[in-house]
């Protein structure tokens, strides 16, 4: 009887380890540090002594630079930021997650995108895909979570037209830019 109990405990332990490992494998990705605005994190620096006001309202004194353009009709700060612990995010089911796991939060609504991100087809990865360190960019490395649409940027200069490509007076890569377009 004792032996059976021992074996059962062993099996239980194994199963637990297996589960934990599987979980870790599924949920941990090599991500960079989230792109916090300078000096803003940890949030508890300011929020620790404050009273929590869960009433939905427009913020007039702090965080005025944040204009929520991300489902703003149905959402506000404390849907994603945890009210009890400001240094954490909050899933819909009430779980607290670290800022470095924010992809789980985004993945709650953006399921297909999350699925693509996990296999590397959405988003950006840099480094070594084989035999080295690889970094998966977080959703928030490219999309501002409060205003996620990718902003237009200035393009790099076009190639020189053949007429200017062999300009003997050119000294830099900028030659020909002043020529006719």
């Amino acid at each position: 009887m004792r032996r059976i109990a021992f074996v059962m405990v062993l099996i239980g332990l194994f199963a637990f380890c297996w589960y934990e490992q599987g979980k870790a494998k599924q949920e941990d990705f090599p991500v960079p540090r989230p792109p916090f605005s300078e000096g803003i994190f940890p949030c508890s620096n300011c929020h620790a002594g404050m009273e929590v006001n869960i009433k939905r309202r427009e913020l007039k004194e702090e965080h005025t630079n944040i204009k929520l353009k991300h489902g703003s009709i149905s959402r506000w700060c404390l849907d994603c930021h945890d009210a009890a612990n400001r240094d954490m995010l909050r899933l819909v089911n009430g779980d607290q997650i670290d800022f470095s796991h924010s992809y789980e939060l985004c993945g709650q609504c953006h399921g297909p995108t999350y699925r693509d991100w996990k296999v590397g087809v959405h988003g950006k990865r840099v480094g070594y895909f084989d035999g080295g360190q690889r970094t998966y960019f977080l959703c928030v490395n490219c999309h501002n979570p409060h205003d996620p649409k990718f902003k237009p940027i200035k393009p790099e200069p076009p190639p020189f037209k053949p007429l200017y490509r062999y300009d003997p007076t050119a000294k830099t890569g900028q030659a020909g830019q002043t020529g006719k377009q």
Binding site: D116, V119, G120, V121, H122, G123, K124, R125, V126, G127, Y128, F129, D130, G131, G132, F137, C142, F150, P152, I153, K154, P155, E156, P157, P158, P159, F160, K161, R165, Y166, D167, P168, A170, K171, T172, G173, A175, G176, Q181
Partner: protein, 300 residues
């Protein structure tokens, strides 16, 4: 002179004297390294010993020319790899970051001549297959512009590459991992391959390359980004110096929108296989039977 006939013996005498003096002269003007370079054999015919000697000579030459110590790799293809590229047309914004990331990584000539391996073309929305509407000199203040889509084009690393077929000296060939590469020391500069490529994937060093010394990339591959010479053809190699070490190509890392995907076609878990299985994919000018390993797809 009239009526005088040279005997065979006379001819041989004269000819050998001329040859010897010619050799002697060239021996004076030519250094040993130059002669070795002239006598260098085709890369695929080199033994390991030959490769080592060639690399040592090239490194010395580059050190003298650019004042920097280069490390030239001759790493071969890893068995079980076939590299392929994926490009998400619904995400590309035409910012050309890839173009300049590539130029920097691959020691391309910056001006006189300006050589770029990636050409980003702009097409009016809804006419993706009418390449005659393409424009690659677009220069707005901001991209993406409404009403346009962008499509970067570079070497497609065809499985059936027309450029390789036309090379009269076999200076370009397809490696076992699918990369189409050039031996810059074997190329004679005839540019047949440029004429044969339907993707404009190759460029020609019309003059000695101009590379700013401070921007030189000294981690190079013999078949990839080592500085080229005047009169040779070069092209995208999918960053052979990086991918054979398991690293993403420079354009993948330069892209700010995550448009570019790279992976091993023979690895069922790779990114490229996932997108082939799950996304709508097409290849450029598929009807030419070039079998490109460059897949354009729509992530949205």
């Amino acid at each position: 002179m009239a009526g005088k006939r040279y005997s065979r013996r006379d001819f041989i005498k004269l000819a050998s004297v001329a040859t010897l003096s010619g050799l002697g002269l060239s021996g004076i003007s030519c250094k040993k390294a130059d002669l070795e370079e002239f006598l260098q054999t085709h890369y695929l015919e080199m033994t390991e010993e030959d490769k080592k000697r060639t690399i040592a000579r090239l490194e010395e030459k580059y050190l003298k020319k650019y004042g920097k110590q280069f490390t030239i790799s001759t790493k071969g293809a890893k068995p079980g790899t076939l590299w392929a590229y994926g490009l998400d047309l619904s995400r590309c914004i035409g910012c050309r970051r890839c173009v300049y990331g590539c130029v920097k990584e691959n020691n391309n000539s910056r001006y006189n001549p300006q050589l770029q391996w990636i050409r980003v073309i702009r097409l009016p929305e809804g006419s993706l297959i009418n390449l005659e509407n393409a424009e690659h000199y677009y220069n707005p203040s901001q991209v993406p512009e409404p009403g346009y889509v962008y499509m970067p084009v570079q070497c497609q690393h065809c499985e059936n590459p027309p450029c390789v077929k036309v090379c009269p000296v076999r200076a370009t060939w397809k490696e076992p991992d699918g990369l189409v590469v050039v031996d810059y020391n074997w190329c004679i500069g005839c540019r047949y391959c440029i004429a044969a490529c339907p993707y404009k994937g190759r460029v020609f060093n019309w003059a000695e390359p101009n590379i700013p010394t401070e921007e030189l990339n000294t981690a190079v591959h013999y078949l990839g980004n080592r500085p080229r010479y005047k009169n040779v053809v070069d092209k995208c190699t999918f960053c052979v110096q990086r991918v054979r070490n398991g690293r993403y190509p420079a354009c993948v890392e330069a892209c700010p929108t995550g448009t570019r995907k790279f992976g091993n076609l023979l690895d069922p878990d790779s990114e490229i296989r996932y997108l082939l299985d799950h996304k709508r994919v097409f290849r450029l000018k598929e009807d030419l039977n070039t079998e490109p390993k460059f897949y354009y797809f729509f992530g949205l």
